[in-house]
């Protein structure tokens, strides 16, 4: 049996040749994975949606932990899909911090503590993106609002904020566009510019030059400073690795879809959700990416019939019935929109006759539990797809951590790992 490699040893000896996130090599060769591995060979996908203010607990969590639970007020919005999803109770990360811990939804680690963990505060979508890497044009997409997707180095992944921009990145043929025009577009599209093959190839020599300079600086530094500069070298290596993937994909034409981008203002929450989920569906369908995080807007006022107050204001409901009722109307929009996406996946057949829902794991949740209490316990969470048998309300009574569920998700997605951030045990209770 080969000895599992210690990550630190590897880092020390790796030099420039080995890129950091290839951690799968560290798994003992004898370890058995994919207990439920089936014949399916196509791509597995992940989509997680994060909402900012929890959900009113008594309107979300069913009372009975059985298959024939009664759906509370908010959950009724997806009652017709009850056999396609699992709803969880008393599942969380054991963290506190209210709004300031909401970003831990998909990682279980606060960004300020990322240096205490081997994998930092990497979120489940980014952990999967490391695995997918260059197999798709985009290793992951962070859409709408950023806060729910983090890399292992404590970096918040910037979000693509508009559906037309995301649509252009995924499906628009820009091969004939001059680099000057692309640059001009960039100010509009901010964090995700598109570049020509020539521009990308030229970047190799830029990286060479700054690395040459950095090496001569390194020789002069003390030990502590050299550690800090190591972060710079590591980052350069990662840029280089991504660059090769970008070059490869810049030569492959983008897929053509028979659709145009829809867009809606955040005020029309349900329509905005629809435009994003439609886009995510197309991205999956064309295998442009296999990992998506969708961040719901952080607050504001929505045009929802029956809702007269601001979302954040309503979450501070003060136990007033009319506020709780309005809050539930918003919670229902989150759930109903996600439910439509689940239905769409379910009604799409893969080449081997399965549905797209079987090869996709999708979750909807919030990093806060009860918005009124500002707590981060008993997080509202529903999950569908992945080939699991759904239809239950799983109450873990705090005996398992949410990261255990993510570990199982990652394993189901094909990532060979036995650890995810804070846990080394996978989830029990899913079949």
């Amino acid at each position: 049996m080969s000895k599992p490699m210690d990550r630190r040893t590897m880092l020390k000896g790796a030099g420039f040749a080995v890129a950091l996130p290839l951690l799968d090599a560290m798994i003992p060769a004898s370890a058995a994975f994919g207990r439920n591995s089936k014949a399916y060979k196509g791509p597995m996908r992940f989509l997680g949606t994060g909402t900012p203010l929890g959900m009113h607990p008594s309107n979300f969590h069913p009372k009975m932990a059985t298959r024939d639970y009664d759906s509370p007020r908010s959950l009724k919005a997806i009652e017709h899909l009850r056999n396609d999803f699992t709803v969880f109770s008393n599942l969380d990360h054991g963290l506190s911090g209210g709004h300031y811990a909401n970003h831990t939804l998909f990682s279980g680690v606060k960004v300020e503590e990322h240096k205490d963990h081997d994998e930092g505060n990497v979120t489940v979508d980014q952990r999967y993106a490391e695995h997918v890497f260059s197999q798709t044009r985009y290793s992951s997409l962070c859409l709408w609002n950023s806060d729910y997707s983090w890399t292992r180095r404590g970096v918040r992944v910037p979000a693509i904020k508009s559906t037309p921009h995301a649509f252009a990145l995924l499906f628009e043929d820009t091969s004939g566009v001059s680099s000057k025009r692309r640059r001009r577009n960039k100010s509009k599209f901010s964090a995700y510019p598109e570049e020509s093959t020539a521009d990308l190839e030229a970047r190799n020599s830029v990286l060479d030059a700054i690395r040459g300079d950095a090496k001569s600086l390194e020789a002069r530094l003390g030990a502590a400073d050299r550690n800090k500069l190591d972060e710079y070298f590591t980052s350069i290596r990662e840029v280089e690795r991504k660059l090769q993937s970008d070059i490869k994909w810049s030569k492959i034409p983008k897929p053509k879809v028979d659709a145009s981008p829809k867009s809606a203002s955040n005020r029309d929450l349900e329509k905005a959700y629809e435009s994003w989920y439609d886009l995510a569906y197309l991205a999956f369908k064309t295998d442009s990416t296999r990992s998506i995080v969708l961040g719901s807007p952080g607050g504001g006022n929505f045009n929802i019939p029956g809702v007269t107050k601001g979302y954040h204001d309503l979450s501070h409901h003060g136990h007033k019935d009319e506020n709780i009722e309005q809050l539930s109307l918003i919670d229902q929009v989150h759930l109903r929109s996600w439910g439509r996406f689940v239905e769409k996946l379910k009604s799409t057949k893969e080449a081997d006759g399965r549905t797209m829902l079987d090869s996709t794991i999708t979750m909807l949740g919030s990093g806060m539990g009860d918005g009124a209490r500002h707590n981060n316990e008993n997080l509202p969470l529903v999950m569908a797809g992945g080939g699991w048998r759904h239809g239950s309300h799983v109450n873990v009574f705090k005996r398992q951590k949410l990261n255990s569920l993510y570990l199982s998700v990652l394993q189901r997605l094909g990532v060979k790992t036995r650890k995810f951030n804070t846990v080394e045990t996978s989830f029990t209770g899913l079949k």
Binding site: V155, I236, V239
Partner: protein, 603 residues
């Protein structure tokens, strides 16, 4: 019996001798055994010992070795708690349902004695350890923050280029509000790849002609960008790149070099070039200008008088506004307003009257006025003036001023004036919906009283405010001070916040809550001083102005050096603070004292 007498005398003499020796030099081991341990055992181990560890703090196991930086910080924290009167808590007696604290004069006297001894011991350790740390160098290699990067590129390439940059960068990680702390800054592939792409764009958009890149041109550019002379060997990779690729790429690569991105400083006394950079990023949030470069080349910036002259010149420059803006944003955590914005419907005036801008302008103008006129820093605690426009006048309930312009007005009522009553602070310490006495209390604790924020114990059920009945938030929060788990910290935190309850979540005055319950602002400081309203609260805080001043000096130095202040910096900070006291507390003097300090001029 007589035979023993000489021996006894000798013992007494020995004791006196060794006593004298102690007066010069405290022995940590025996001092701990004879003084500190008995005190801790009697007063502290019950709650911070083997069985119980309140606030996750255990006092019976750590060694007393304050020359070790971690041990120093630990005991400094202990000292702060004891000397502020916060610890040990007074014993409580229960009469019926109410719990009454029993004053204990003996304990107070003991605590005073032990904090005096501990303070001396730590001062001694600080002096000893500073030498050791100075030899090693302090702080971690830091890089240009997002705003520093943009300002620097602006200066190197002109305004068109810098506009492109800033929004595409990943957000900075804030440590105690600051984005320039080397040990907390993150470097990532995201950042680097954005830097490369934006640098290429920036060079193309430059106002200057950068079509060619000869060795000399590149060297000249790199000298400015790296903020110190460049050797031929250092420039060689970029010359090669210019030959192989394009001039644009060579200039862009220079803007991605670690020599550009990081502040490279040798440990120990800083050289003139490093001082030029520290000064300019401190007071301008940008790179040194020609004058600073010239003085650095002549190696004149190690001279105290030259530094003082330069600080005067820099503060008079318009670029000093970049410092004020950036420092205020970070010191007062103003980004919280963007993070949890006031509700659009509940606080319509906040948007109709553009109050966020007005608040920021008010805080900016007060700060700038205090720097320009060298006003005493105690005016941060209590001032009889502020700067307002008409919208703010309306919002604060003050007399009208000119329509749009901000004007300095004299305040007759002590309920406004000073940082604590500025809209910016009151809004950034609320959550956009309600006030939070706990958040505001922590803000006062950290920024005004200069104490550390304790971590809440794990698995505490949070409070859900109930606004149906007539109970006030204060009555509901009383759960904090009833449960002994919470009370340790909250009995000090919450009252500080209650003192500000007359101000709603966007800083408007109120006497009643929405449910008509009266606001109660009375309370007492950890030191026991009582207050009934905001006016008396400010007065009580003024009596603690020494700890406020020290905290303030520490914030300025943190910002100016890009590293967190360490326990071993404490004695130097105290020195600066008492120097400031002697010179009349002026804010401009404070800046001068920091730039003249060992902390600023050494690494």
């Amino acid at each position: 019996m007589a035979a023993f007498r000489p021996l006894l005398l000798t013992i007494v003499a020995l004791c006196i001798l060794s006593g004298d020796a102690w007066a010069d030099d405290i022995n940590y081991a025996s001092g701990y055994k004879n003084k500190l341990e008995p005190f801790l055992e009697k007063n502290c181990f019950r709650c911070h010992g083997e069985k119980v560890q309140k606030a996750k703090m255990r006092l019976d196991t750590p060694r007393f070795k304050p020359t070790d930086p971690d041990s120093f910080d630990f005991w400094q924290n202990v000292l702060d708690r004891i000397s502020s009167g916060e610890m040990p808590p007074p014993e409580k007696t229960r009469s019926g349902k109410t719990v009454v604290a029993k004053p204990n004069l003996e304990l107070t006297a003991d605590a005073k004695k032990i904090s005096e001894w501990l303070s001396e011991a730590l001062e001694q350790a600080s002096a000893q350890a500073s030498k050791a740390i100075r030899a090693k160098g302090k702080g971690t290699l830091r890089r240009l923050s997002r705003s520093q990067y943009a300002n620097t590129v602006h200066q190197l390439l002109g305004s068109k280029a810098s506009k492109l940059l800033i929004n595409t960068f990943p957000e900075e990680f804030l440590d105690e509000g600051f984005d320039n702390i080397g040990s907390s800054q993150v470097m990532s592939d995201f950042l680097i790849s954005h830097m490369i792409k934006t640098a290429e764009d920036a060079v193309e958009y430059t106002d200057f002609d950068r079509k060619t890149a000869t060795r000399e041109e590149l060297k000249e550019f790199a000298t400015l960008a790296f903020r110190r002379p460049v050797t031929d060997a250092q420039i060689a990779p970029y010359v090669r790149l210019a030959e192989k690729a394009t001039a644009t790429r060579a200039y862009a690569a220079i803007l991605c070099s670690p020599r550009f991105l990081y502040f490279y400083e040798d440990p120990g006394k800083l050289d003139s070039y490093a001082i030029a950079s520290r000064l300019s990023y401190y007071l301008w949030n940008s790179m040194p200008d020609k004058t600073l470069f010239k003085l650095a080349a002549e190696d004149k910036l190690t001279d105290e008088e030259v530094i003082a002259e330069q600080v005067e010149r820099m503060l008079k420059d318009k670029k000093a506004e970049l410092f004020i803006n950036n420092f205020l944003r970070q010191w007062l955590h103003l980004e919280n307003i963007t993070l949890l914005p006031p509700d659009e419907k509940k606080f319509k005036t906040f948007y109709d009257d553009a109050l966020e801008d007005a608040f920021t302008t008010e805080s900016f103008m007060v700060f700038k006025y205090m720097v320009d006129e060298n006003r005493p820093v105690t005016e941060f605690l209590s001032a009889n003036y502020t700067f307002i426009n008409n919208d703010l006048a309306k919002h604060y309930g003050l007399d009208k001023v000119d329509k749009y312009d901000f004007k300095k007005v004299t305040l007759k009522d002590p309920s406004r004036g000073g940082l604590l009553t500025q809209g910016a602070v009151l809004t950034s310490t609320s959550n956009g919906i309600e006030t939070s006495p706990v958040l505001r209390g922590i803000w006062v604790l950290q920024n005004i009283l200069g104490l550390k924020k304790p971590d809440p114990p794990p698995n505490v059920p949070a409070l859900a405010v109930d606004t149906r009945g007539t109970r006030t938030l204060r009555q509901q929060l009383s759960a904090h001070t009833k449960s002994s788990r919470c009370a340790t910290c909250h009995r000090h935190i919450d009252p500080l916040g209650f003192a500000l309850e007359n101000f709603n979540a966007i800083g408007a005055w109120r006497e009643k809550y929405e449910n008509n319950a009266r606001v109660d602002t009375s309370g007492k400081l950890p030191t026991g001083q009582r207050y009934r309203n905001i006016g008396e609260f400010k007065k009580a805080l003024l009596s603690r102005k020494d700890s406020f001043t020290q905290g303030l000096v520490s914030k300025f130095l943190t910002y100016g050096t890009g590293r967190k202040m360490h326990g071993t910096d404490r004695s130097e900070i105290k020195k600066i603070a008492s120097k400031l006291k002697r010179s009349g507390y002026g804010l401009r003097d404070l800046i001068h004292h920091t730039t003249a300090s060992k902390i600023f001029l050494n690494r």
